[in-house]
Amino acid sequence: MDYLLETRNITKRFGGLTAVDRVSIGLRAGEALAVLGDNGAGKSTLIKIISGVHKPDEGEIFIGGKPARIDSPMDALAAGIETIYQDLALAENLDVGANIFLGRERMKRSLGILKVLDDQAMREEAQKVLDRLDIHIPSLKKTIRTLSGGQRQAVAISRSIYWDAKVLIMDEPTAALGVAEQKKVLNLVRTLKDQGIGIIIISHQMYDVFEVADRLAVMRRGVLVGERIVKETNPDEVVGLIVGSETVGKER
């Protein structure tokens, strides 16, 4: 089956440091690919390239088999790639609706001519997505600053799934969550997979990976050191790949 999203030999350097070194990965529709690796392995940098935040120094990105120009976050969004970042990237001074629609605001006409923000409609839509995720936030008029970590995460997730993504990238989506909320997020990942969305999930939680991922890719110091099908591997082998012990598993 063809790849929905593919990177070929993506390389990104920060000064002397090669954060991502000739990484090629592929993602199919309806599939969850876990990207693993120690702190600083280059996972976040790789996905920031896919989502247009960083420009790669080398390499190409293909969407639906065709070379894609992703020069800005807008390009990625337009191509159907939605990203939930590790730091969530929410505007803390704005409310839930404003955040979900940030950069793509819903407008209405006022007095016949002036285009104004339709905050009412944005909040109603926000409520619908939150309901879909079975997440409760007391008042959508409150700014993000007043929400808990889990609620913020929920807003970030709502923001990306609202826009009918083809590819959803999640950078440590459960890191800040309590047990019940983690379960909700993982269920959500399954639901989205069933809808044919391709998901890239970065996580340090082995449990998450074995729970929802179909395949996994391991990075170490910027290099892709191994790919496995989840059903055919086990946590020990994966840990070995991550830390680089030669005693476990086999290099690709």
């Binding site: 976050p73 407008m107 923000l117």
Partner: protein
């Protein structure tokens, strides 16, 4: 720590709903309190004449504070507004002198000069914006550079003197009132009745300086843009989280440039208004005080220099608080040095309150 919980945790009254309302709108409450106090302590404070004068004289500070509000919400600062205003003032005066000398009518000279200066006043903001976004120079430094450039150009154009010989109609328009009333007798619009002697003009009740509807329109239009428009939403977003804005696909660099252009355009407008008010092109080194006053007013109004927070109407309240504080203390016979101290204390109090209540927008 979250400001709301900080307030609830141990500040008693400030934790209650009424306390919150008071804290987030303290400048407005303070303004009302001040107006009442000065009405009691200062003879002639509570009068239409005094209030109209204060508001009329605050037209320029209001324009600059509005400009600064947009910039400060993005987390930046524009230190160049005072001198850009000065440059616009002497630039327009110079152009009017040239056009008049070349034989154009006063009306045409004024109109042409205004157009050119308004267009020209976009340039400092464009330069500020590009230096800040493309060359990553902090706004404080970039606009300080523009502060120097505008100051130098204004000095070059004016040679340091007030620029006179401008059409008489300028101050007539700039200082006229909507209504001239002789109680129980007659009313006339825009100018005193033709046959009414100049030396008795004080017997007339002059109502609503033209500057008032002008500034109200500017305030209302920009407050609307900031609160209800996409441009305003993105302005808040930039100040709230630059990263979130970038990743949401907002063209943040272009947006920042627009904000600095808006700021210097408003400063240019202030410079033109200044000519209408005084009838001369004003070069003064005191223009530096204008930007500090504007920043102070915006902060007193509740904006945060960290960005993400502020409102046009709150900045208007901030300007009025500072203006009436000065005016009221002066009328009440308080010595100038106490007045400076009062303004200083107020400014620090404003920032402390901002730290306690970060959630107001």
């Amino acid at each position: 720590m979250n400001g709301e919980s900080a307030a609830r945790d141990g500040k008693g009254f400030l934790g209650t709903r009424a306390g919150q309302a008071l804290a987030t709108n303290w400048a407005a409450f303070f303004l009302v309190l001040m107006l009442i106090t000065f009405s009691l302590t200062g003879r002639n404070f509570l009068s239409i004449v005094n209030f109209q004068n204060v508001v009329h004289l605050q037209t320029v500070p209001l324009l600059l504070a509005i400009a600064e509000t947009f910039v400060i919400i993005t987390g930046g600062i524009d230190l160049s507004v005072g001198f850009v205003m000065g440059l616009a003032s002497v630039g327009a005066a110079k152009l009017m002198q040239l056009f008049l000398a070349s034989g154009l009518t006063p009306g045409l000279s004024i109109a042409l000069s205004m157009l050119i200066v308004l267009a020209g006043s976009l340039v400092p903001g464009l330069v500020n914006g590009i230096v800040i976004t493309k060359f990553k120079v902090p706004p404080f430094i970039a606009t300080m550079g523009m502060f120097g450039i505008a100051n130098g150009l204004a000095l070059r154009i004016s040679q340091g003197y007030p620029m006179i010989g401008l059409p008489d109609v300028l101050p007539k328009i700039g200082n006229s009132y909507l209504l001239y009333v002789r109680p129980g007798d007659f009313v006339s619009f825009f100018a005193k009745p033709e046959n009414f002697p100049d030396n008795r003009v004080r017997e007339l009740l002059r109502l609503i300086p033209l500057s008032l509807p002008f500034i109200l329109i500017v305030i209302a239009a920009l407050a609307f843009t900031l609160r209800r428009g996409r441009f305003g939403r993105h302005t808040y977003a930039l100040g709230g989280s630059m990263d979130a804005s970038i990743r949401s696909g907002i063209a943040v660099d272009a947006h920042l440039v627009k904000v600095y252009v808006l700021s210097s355009a408003l400063a240019g407008l202030a410079g033109l208004f200044n000519i209408f008010q005084t009838g001369i092109g004003n070069y003064t080194t005191f223009n530096a005080q204008y930007e500090f006053f504007a920043v102070a007013a915006v902060v007193v109004g509740g904006a945060s220099l960290a960005g993400g927070k502020g409102r046009i109407w709150s900045s208007v309240v901030g300007v009025l608080v500072l203006a009436f504080l000065e005016n009221g203390l002066a009328i009440s016979g308080v010595k100038p040095f106490y007045r400076y101290i009062a303004v200083g204390v107020l400014l620090v109090v404003a920032v402390v309150i901002d730290k306690l209540f970060p959630d107001m927008r």
